[in-house]
């Protein structure tokens, strides 16, 4: 008999009006697909009283109206959804490309990261641009995609002191993750480069350039190309 996600999922109240569902505490493609399928199912068959959904790596935070639902009641409803996860079809992933100008003022941490791994700057860029990444989820701020996994030979811890303001479009790495800052925000990821494209645009249909499940590659561009694309 095939196992149901309900057999291994763990439920944990996060607040009096939210409940966490964990498929795993690791970063795996399997649990990412469980999260994506559950999001799709909750999108097509919404549960009355659910106010919001915050996806994570192998987990989903479900925010609900405490006047309409309780933790136990919601868990029972969600378990029935989990039993049906295997049958939820996932669309063919989109292949997305993000142009990046690496190094210098656009990637102030590139040289240090390369040195930490005994690489030249060019080798570090090549490593970052060689992988195809999965959008595990969008989180943090509007349109911020958590991309994994960064090649192990480039895995680097966060900065000990986060920058108070990271410029829009900055491409950073942290652990085995990489991502693009859609807005100028505080941030502790090490910055390798910058993209001229807008990651979140409220006047665009999708708003977010990337969606959960997309496959992403970074394409190195020159400073001149960056300037041209930025002004386009």
């Amino acid at each position: 008999m095939p196992t149901s996600a309900a057999d291994f999922a763990q439920f944990k109240p996060a607040s009096d009006q939210s409940l966490l569902i964990y498929f795993t505490h690791q970063v795996t493609l399997d649990s990412h697909q469980h999260v994506t399928k559950l999001l799709r199912l909750l999108g097509s068959e919404p549960i009355t009283g659910i106010r919001n959904l915050h996806p994570g790596y192998g987990s989903l935070l479900v925010v609900f109206d405490g006047r309409k639902l309780g933790h136990d009641e919601l868990e029972a409803i969600l378990r029935a959804y989990l039993d049906r996860l295997e049958d939820v079809p996932l669309p063919q992933p989109r292949q997305m490309e993000i142009p990046v100008c690496y190094g210098e003022e656009y990637g102030p941490d590139l040289h240090e990261v390369a040195e930490m791994h005994g690489l030249t700057d060019a080798q570090a860029v090549e490593l970052h641009a060689s992988a195809t990444y999965v959008v595990y989820f969008l989180g943090f701020v509007p349109g911020f995609a958590y991309l994994g996994e960064l090649p192990q030979s480039l895995a680097t811890p966060r900065l000990p002191r986060p920058r108070p303001r990271v410029p829009r479009g900055s491409v950073g790495i942290a652990g085995r993750q990489t991502g693009v800052y859609p807005f100028p925000t505080p941030g502790g990821w090490r910055l390798l480069g910058r993209t001229p494209i807008a990651m979140f645009r409220p006047d665009r249909g999708d708003m977010s350039f990337l969606s959960i499940g997309d496959r992403v590659r970074f394409i190195p561009i020159s400073r001149q190309q960056f300037a041209e694309m930025e002004n386009a």
């Binding site: 607040s15 009096d16 939210s18 925010v63 943090f140």
Partner: protein, 308 residues
């Protein structure tokens, strides 16, 4: 159309309603009024739907000219409002005659005061809400706080709802608290008994780094269990109390990040979130643990008090 001329914006004044739900999968948090209880009561006082957009002022209020007049109510903290030389009481509906100017000053109590106007403040909605999201520069008036010279449109008052005033006793029971009640956070077991004890017995000061995204607190550092390891990033809830390395607390607030990677020791209960919106830098607070049942019944009690 009736308008408001912003003659002085105050320290940090934004357009807020009850926020936008349902966009977490895009990384968009709900946002909305920092003290939604005051916003809801203020809107009811002027006969609005309780989620109408209003002005949220922070620590220091502004000056507003009403060329065509308006019906307004001030709720939340007392910012010493004056209308053409007369002192104005909060928590009451008030008729402003054409050409009068309402002026507010520094706070005399908590962090935020709401100026609700019959008809609501009209701005272009972003994802179904008028709420300003400062970090992303979206929503509200051009995604920013008000400036001198801004002109705000007042919406058309729909059917005239009755002006519903709350009893003094209800207001007293809804008053902001400095002892915040909490339920255990999803990583509370990352903190040993001694850390839990520290957390629940300690007093904390709100630092200057307190805004709509979150409030950094200062107090005895709370160590995590040794060898607790690293968390994978997960969805975080409103009012989550997270503890990064170093052990100083951060309370996630209305304009919160949707996900985070720090362990959460506890979560402020929903009934006390409006109190968080009234905390000022240097305020001293404590935490008190309550059961899930208690958190739920306090939420119901609050809702009953607001609906009168």
């Amino acid at each position: 159309m009736s308008v408001i001329h912003v003659q002085a914006p105050g320290l940090f004044t934004t357009v807020q309603d009850l926020g936008r739900g349902g966009y977490g999968p895009m990384g968009v948090s709900a946002s909305g009024a920092a003290d939604p209880v005051s916003l809801r009561i203020g809107n009811r006082l002027v006969g609005n739907d309780e989620g109408a957009a209003a002005l949220e002022m922070t620590l220091l209020g502004g000056s507003f000219l009403f060329p065509q007049g308006a019906v307004v109510a001030l709720t939340g903290s007392d910012f010493g409002a004056i209308l053409d030389g007369s002192i104005i009481e909060c928590w009451k509906s008030l008729e402003i005659r054409p050409g009068q100017t309402l002026s507010l000053g520094p706070t005399r109590s908590g962090a935020r005061c709401y100026l609700c106007v019959r008809g609501g403040i009209e701005v272009r909605l972003f994802l179904g809400s008028a709420s300003t999201h400062i970090l992303s520069g979206l929503g509200g008036l051009d995604g920013r706080s008000l400036r001198k010279g801004d002109v705000l449109n007042i919406g058309q008052a729909e059917t005239s709802l009755p002006n519903a005033a709350l009893s003094a006793q209800a207001l007293w029971r809804l008053a902001p608290r400095k002892i915040l009640r909490v339920t255990p956070g999803p990583q509370c077991d990352w903190f040993p008994e001694s850390s839990q004890h520290l957390f629940y017995s300690g007093t904390y000061h709100v630092t200057e780094e307190a805004n709509r995204m979150g409030l950094r607190l200062e107090g005895d550092p709370i160590p995590t269990r040794s060898g607790a390891g690293e968390m994978t990033t997960e969805g975080v809830s409103l009012g989550a109390i997270q503890i990064p390395e170093g052990g100083q607390l951060i309370v996630l607030f209305v304009e919160q990040q949707t996900t985070g990677g720090y362990p959460k020791i506890a979560n402020v209960i929903s009934a006390d979130m409006a109190s968080v919106g009234q905390l000022r830098p240097r305020d001293e607070i404590r935490f008190e643990k309550v059961s899930w049942e208690m958190a739920r019944s306090l939420l119901r009690e609050m809702e009953d008090l607001i609906s009168g």
